[in-house]
Amino acid sequence: MEELDPALASRYPFTSLGERLIESEGLTEEDLAYDPLLEQSRRHARGRLLSAVSGGLYLDDLYLPPLDAVATYLIVRLVSSWIGDPFLNRLVAEHESKRFHRLARDEPIHILAWLGGELGAAIRPDGERAWIDISSYLRAAAGLGGPKWRLANRDVRSGQVLVGRRELARLLQELLRAHLLEPTPCPSLSPPLRAIGTEVIRRLEERKASIQSSGPSRQTLPPCIEKLVEKAERGENMSHQERFTLAAYLLKVGWSVDRVVDLFRSAPDFKERVARYQVSHIAKRGYNPPNCETLRSWGICVEDCGVKSPLSYGRRGRRRR
């Protein structure tokens, strides 16, 4: 393999190039927290985390020198592991992988092949396209919506799938997202980094509160839906029926697709694309949540509140008041 430009660590700090740099520089948590030369890394890491929480895309630090870029990335990861909130982890993974895609989509095929290898995929360039091993393809594409990603519509031979250059960059984005979602141990942080963390937590709570206040207030939720909301917030495993019921109900009472997707974000098997696809599908079709009888048979009903559908629960409540 040809020599890699060490400057690539600046764009792709999660790779072995980044790791080697950390090692050779002997970078420690203390350096990240206190080294005055890394002040801009701390500033950018803060920006990236806050962008993640607000759903933006932070690109101010695209051309940092390799060491600063690696330090920024490390701080982002350390702080989010320290906070240890599954909802935040999804937001950070979403943000970091989107940012990655911005850079990767213009890379030549051999750089993408190298990046794929760094993310655990076996990639063999073939002209302007590349073959990716089927397990990695599935890991990446299972979360992507649309018929073009379905294996049945692709050139797949002996456990390898042929993809275009742009497609490969998109798949790598998904692999990076999965990599970022792997559980990490909770580190202890020095005060300057903890300060960043505290600020992120505050913004995160604000976002969570806005998700909740945007819907009907807790009092008007029927007990079955309230229970499902709690389950979703706690990131518990939910059955297909439970998710459908919750999404259909919330959309009917005026939640936006974004907010419903946000609610599901803590789920252990959350996939942005799949969730968004499913929720907008329910919204587009205008499905009603199942009636109480069905919910009873699914074991979702928690008490007999004397209505036929969870949708009439709120209405009755309003009329009475």
């Binding site: 599935l138 890991r139 299972a142 519509n153 050139d155 797949v156 456990g159 996939k271």
Partner: protein, 396 residues
């Protein structure tokens, strides 16, 4: 002891060497005893213990997990510590819509014991009870249909996924179907969505003709014969149709026939077609759909994504037939005859008293039946077991 259970025990004692489970220390084992007790979350250290357990318990059914667990004996899935799971495909003749699978269908009234041939009526003609049992049977034609699906599945797994030989485990379930497991390391870590994707690939469910005959502006791109997957299968079959139609053997839609030469080049070399008519695009997509329909593998889609499944322990006995859930190599599968090769019980004679009609059937090359309900017959154990386990007879 119930003579049937004794026969199972004899099998497990004599044939214990044929029982095996790869990586057994990581599996959850489950057995169902002859009195109907379900014993779950069993963990077994090695093959010797498993063989000893089967010979001792002589269970009616014995299963092992597709999952590999750190703690297979833990009661709850979340505590088992899933390390990975083999990818499972389930082919069940009941889902194939083959007429032969209704061969020997009968019913029996649970209240008064009346029985008859064919589909159960709404109510028992004798006592009026609605509690009727549907009794199915095994037929060679039905099992053959399931086998054909299994063979097609293996072909797709090899050509598309690159898994073959040692990386696969194929087995007859001992009843009306086949199971295929992918053992290879690189698939063990796949999640639910990924498994669902594999299932809808082999079953052709996620196939979309608009992607494969893709139109952008005035350009139509077709699949090519050198491609893999459904694209390649479609291209090859279409090319063959186009070439045969040259001799006038096959009738092509006129939209397709008109541009036959260009289409041949497109399928062979990938030269796109310019300005296709709407009829052409429609007809090509319809043809592709038909090819997929004819070649898709009809698996049970719900099974593959589920990593908590269990399937029968290879070469254990199926409690609805007494036949062996036989592990097969892909080559053995081709010539495999369930009603001969999978017989595991002895030919000791036993007297059976029929309680429902028994159709004519053949096991190990020997014909038996048909028998009326209410008669006593002396049969070898392997044939008697079928009647007993299918609920059509008792030991007097």
């Amino acid at each position: 002891m119930n003579p049937l259970r004794a026969a199972f025990r004899e099998y497990y004692a004599l044939r214990s060497r044929s029982i095996f489970v790869p990586r057994i220390d990581l599996r959850e084992i489950m057995v169902v005893t002859f009195d109907g007790t379900v014993i779950r979350h069993v963990s077994v250290k090695n093959l010797e213990s498993l063989r000893a357990m089967l010979a001792r318990e002589a269970p009616r059914h014995a299963y092992y997990s597709v999952g590999l667990y750190e703690r297979p004996a833990a009661k709850f899935m979340a505590e088992k510590g899933l390390k990975g799971a083999e990818v499972l495909f389930d082919i069940d003749a009941d889902h194939l819509g083959v007429d032969e699978c209704d061969y020997g269908l009968a019913w029996r009234c649970k209240s008064c014991g009346e029985s008859g041939d064919g589909v159960p009526p709404d109510a028992c003609p004798k006592c009026g009870s609605r509690d009727l049992e549907r009794l199915d049977w095994l037929s060679e034609g039905c099992l053959e249909a399931a086998k054909r699906e299994a063979i097609r599945l293996l072909e797709i797994l090899e050509s598309d996924l690159g898994v073959s030989g040692d990386e696969l485990m194929v087995y007859y379930t001992g009843h009306r179907g086949y199971h295929v497991r992918i053992l290879s390391e690189r698939f063990l870590g796949l999640g639910k969505e990924e498994r669902r994707e594999l299932a809808s690939h082999v079953s052709g469910l996620s196939f979309d003709p608009e992607e494969v005959f893709y139109v952008k502006g005035s350009v139509l791109t077709t699949p090519r014969v050198d491609e893999g997957g459904w694209r390649g299968r479609i291209a090859k079959e279409m090319l063959q149709l186009l070439e045969e139609s040259g001799g006038g053997k096959t009738a092509l839609p006129s939209s397709v026939a008109k541009r036959r030469g260009e289409l041949v080049r497109a399928l062979k070399e990938g030269v796109p077609l310019i300005n296709p008519t709407r009829a052409l695009v429609r007809d090509l997509r319809r043809m592709a759909e038909e090819i997929v329909q004819a070649r898709r593998v009809r698996i049970d889609e719900m099974v593959t994504p589920d990593t908590s499944r269990l399937t029968r322990i290879p070469n254990s006995l199926h409690g609805k037939t007494g036949l062996r859930a036989m592990a097969l190599s892909p080559d053995e599968l081709r010539d495999f005859q369930p009603l001969g090769d999978a017989v595991g019980l002895s030919n000791d004679q036993i007297r059976v008293f029929t309680t429902a009609p028994v159709p004519r059937f053949r096991v190990k090359g020997e014909y038996f039946g048909p028998y009326e309900p209410g008669v006593g017959v002396d049969l070898p154990m392997f044939a008697a077991a079928l009647i007993l386990l299918k609920g059509r007879g008792v030991i007097p």
